[in-house]
Subunit: 355 residues, 2 copies
C-alpha cells in the first residue's frame, strides 16, 4: 500500500521522458524500442493510471450520477438495474445519490454538478419546483430528468404515462364486468398521486361510470397505509367490486385487508396495482399491475445522457414510455405459470451470502 508509481517513476526506470511514457501508454506512434522499454517498466512497477489527474486534464470523469428519491423503493431499483449496464458498457461509472425525497437535497445534487465529479446526471425528482427548474437551467453538466417537467423546459426528459396506464386498468376491470371500482391513491400533492387521481376520474367518465367520492380514498404509497385506506374505503362502500391502487405496495395492503375481511380476490373484489414491481409477480395471488416501464425509463434516460455526452449541443428530447397492463391472478383468477422475473436469467448468480 505504498505510493503507487507515476509516469515519472516509469520514465526514470525506462530511461526516457515522461512525454514518451505518456505516448506509449496512449498508443501514439512511438519507436518499437521505446515502447518495449516503457511497457516493461510499467509492468514491473505495476503501474496504473491515475484517474483523478487524468480527469483534471481531460475534464472528463467517466462518471455519471443517478439521484433517486429513495433507494429503498423498488421502482428506482428497477431503473438502476437498467442504467448501470448501459453506463458500464460505455465506460462510465455510476454514482448513486438518495435524496430522501427532500427537495433541498435534490437542488444540492444539481448544484454539486459544478464540482465536476461527474460528467452528467440522471435525476428522478418527486416534484419539480421552480427552484428545481432554475437550478436545472444553470446546471454545469448535462442532466436527464425522469418524470415530467413543464413543457418547454430545456432538458432531456423521460416520462411515464400514468394517465393511459390508469385507463388500461379501468378498461380491463370494466370488461370483467366490474362497475363499482374504487381508487386507493397516494397523496394528492405528489405528481403521481395527482395524475393518477385525475386519470381515474377521466377513465370513469370515458366508461360512462359515475364518479363517486366514497369510492376514493387517499393514503400513502406504502403497504400499511394502503391497507388502512382500503379498509376505510371498504367500510364506506362494502359493495365495491374492484380496487384500482396507485402502486403495488398499496395493492398488497388492499389484498391483506380484503383477505382479512373474508373477501376473495378476485372473485369478490378484483385488485390492480401499479408499477409492476417484483412484488407483483411474487405475491399470492399474483397481482395484476400497470407497468409504467420503470426499467425502460431507466434505460432510455441512460441512453439519452450518453448521447448528449457525445453530442452536447443537440436539442433537448422528450421520451415517453408507454404503459402496459400485466394481467395476473388478482383480476383474472387464473394463476399464470410460475415464472419469476425479478432476477435476470444469467446463470450462476447466487445470493451472495457466505459462511
Amino acid at each position: 500500500m505504498t505510493d503507487g508509481p507515476t509516469i515519472n517513476t516509469i520514465a526514470a526506470r525506462a530511461g526516457v521522458s515522461i512525454a514518451s511514457v505518456s505516448r506509449v501508454l496512449n498508443g501514439l506512434p512511438t519507436r518499437q524500442e521505446t515502447v518495449r522499454k516503457v511497457m516493461a517498466a510499467a509492468e514491473e512497477l505495476g503501474y496504473v493510471r491515475n484517474a483523478v489527474a487524468r480527469s483534471l486534464k481531460s475534464r472528463r470523469t467517466h462518471q455519471v450520477a443517478f439521484a433517486m428519491a429513495d433507494i429503498g423503493n423498488p421502482v428506482y431499483l428497477a431503473m438502476v438495474r437498467q442504467i448501470q449496464p448501459v453506463l458500464k458498457a460505455a465506460g462510465y461509472r455510476l454514482v448513486l445519490h438518495s435524496t430522501d425525497a427532500i427537495a433541498a437535497d435534490e437542488i444540492d445534487v444539481l448544484r454539486s454538478l459544478g464540482e465536476r465529479y461527474v460528467d452528467g446526471l440522471i435525476m428522478s425528482p418527486l416534484r419539480v419546483t421552480d427552484e428545481h427548474l432554475r437550478t436545472l437551467a444553470a446546471a454545469r453538466a448535462p442532466v436527464v430528468i425522469i418524470g415530467s417537467v413543464p413543457d418547454g423546459t430545456r432538458v432531456d426528459n423521460v416520462r411515464a404515462d400514468s394517465r393511459t396506464g390508469v385507463r388500461l386498468a379501468l378498461d380491463h376491470l370494466h370488461q370483467l364486468g366490474r362497475r363499482r371500482i374504487g381508487l386507493v391513491n397516494g397523496p394528492l400533492d405528489t405528481v403521481p398521486g395527482a395524475s393518477r387521481g385525475a386519470a381515474y376520474a377521466e377513465a370513469l367518465g370515458a366508461l360512462g361510470l359515475p364518479y363517486d367520492e366514497d369510492l376514493v380514498e387517499i393514503g400513502d404509497f406504502y403497504r400499511q397505509e394502503g391497507a388502512r385506506a382500503a379498509a376505510a374505503l371498504l367500510t364506506r362502500r362494502p359493495d365495491v367490486d374492484a380496487l384500482m391502487c396507485a402502486n403495488d405496495l398499496i395493492a398488497l395492503g388492499a389484498v391483506d385487508v380484503l383477505r382479512a375481511s373474508g373477501r376473495r380476490v378476485p372473485a369478490d373484489v378484483a385488485v390492480v396495482g401499479m408499477d409492476d414491481t417484483d412484488l407483483a409477480a411474487a405475491s399470492w395471488p399474483s397481482l395484476t399491475s400497470v407497468s409504467l416501464g420503470s426499467a425502460e425509463r431507466g434505460k432510455a434516460a441512460a441512453e439519452l445522457l450518453l448521447d448528449r455526452l457525445l453530442n452536447g449541443e443537440r436539442e433537448p428530447r422528450v421520451v415517453t414510455v408507454p404503459p402496459r397492463l400485466l394481467v395476473r391472478a388478482s383480476t383474472s383468477g387464473r394463476e399464470p405459470t410460475p415464472q419469476y422475473t425479478a432476477v435476470p436469467s444469467e446463470p450462476r448468480t447466487t445470493d451472495g451470502a457466505a459462511g
Copy 2:
C-alpha cells in the same frame, strides 16, 4: 453551461491572489475585508469548488465503491440501502459496480483501485479465489470483504453465519414435529451452496435425524430453478413434510410447486427460505426465512471501511453477523399482522413515476 469560474477568476474579480481566495474558502485566518471581497466575488460568479483538482492535491476523492455480484439481487440491495446512508453521513459518495459474478471482473475492480478514483472499496465476491487473495494483498486502497475469506487474510471482513442459520431453521421445523425435512439447495460450487449443504447435514445429525440423499436436491438460486428442484424432490419423496430452501427465491418456487400439487403450506409441507428478502414478507403465505443479516452486514462493512479510512494502520477486523429466524405463515400457519418492511418509514416517499 460555459466554463465555470476557478479561484483565478475569483482572485481577479476580488483583486486578491489565488492564495487568499483559497484561504478564505477554507476558512483560514484572513482579514475581514479580504474575506468579504472574496465571498462576494465567489457568490456573484456562482463559484463551486472543483472536486477533481481538489482530489488530485489532497489524494482523497471522498468516494467509496461497492462491488456486488448482481445488482438485480435483493440481498445486495439490502446492503446498498444500509451502506449508502452511512457513507453519505460521513461525506462520501457511493460508486456502484455490478460484476455479474465474474471473477475476472471482480479482480478488475480490485486492480482499478490503483486508479485512485475511490478512497476505498466494499466487495462481496461470490467465491474467493487465490487470485482474489493475491490482488487483495496488493490493493492500493482499503478494502472490506463481505463474505468469508480464509483465516489469516489481512483484510477487514464481514461474515454471515449460514451454518447457525440452517440450524435455527431445522430446529424450528423439528419442534413443529416435522421429521422428513428436505433441502432444496443451490450449486455446491458456490460458497453459500456448499456451506448450506454441509450445515443441513450437520443440523440433521444434531437432531438425531438420518441424512437421506433423496431428500436433497440441487438447483440454482432462482425461483424457477427452485420450483424445478422442488418438483424433482417431491417426485422422489412425496411424503416430505418440510422444505429447507437455500434462499427465498428457491422457497417461493417451492411454494408454487407445492400449491400446484395440491399440498397446503404449511399444513402438509412447511417451507423455510433464507436471506429474509422483501419478498419473504410480501408473499402469500408469508415466508418463514432465516435472515443472514444482509442489512447489518452492509452497515458493518461501511463502518469498518470508514473507520479504516480514518485509521489506516489498525489490525484487520472480522465481524460476524448472527442469523435470525423470522417465523411467518409458511411454517407457523398464522399469518402475522400485515406489515411491510420493504421501504423505510419515511413519510411522503412516492413511487417516483410521473405523468
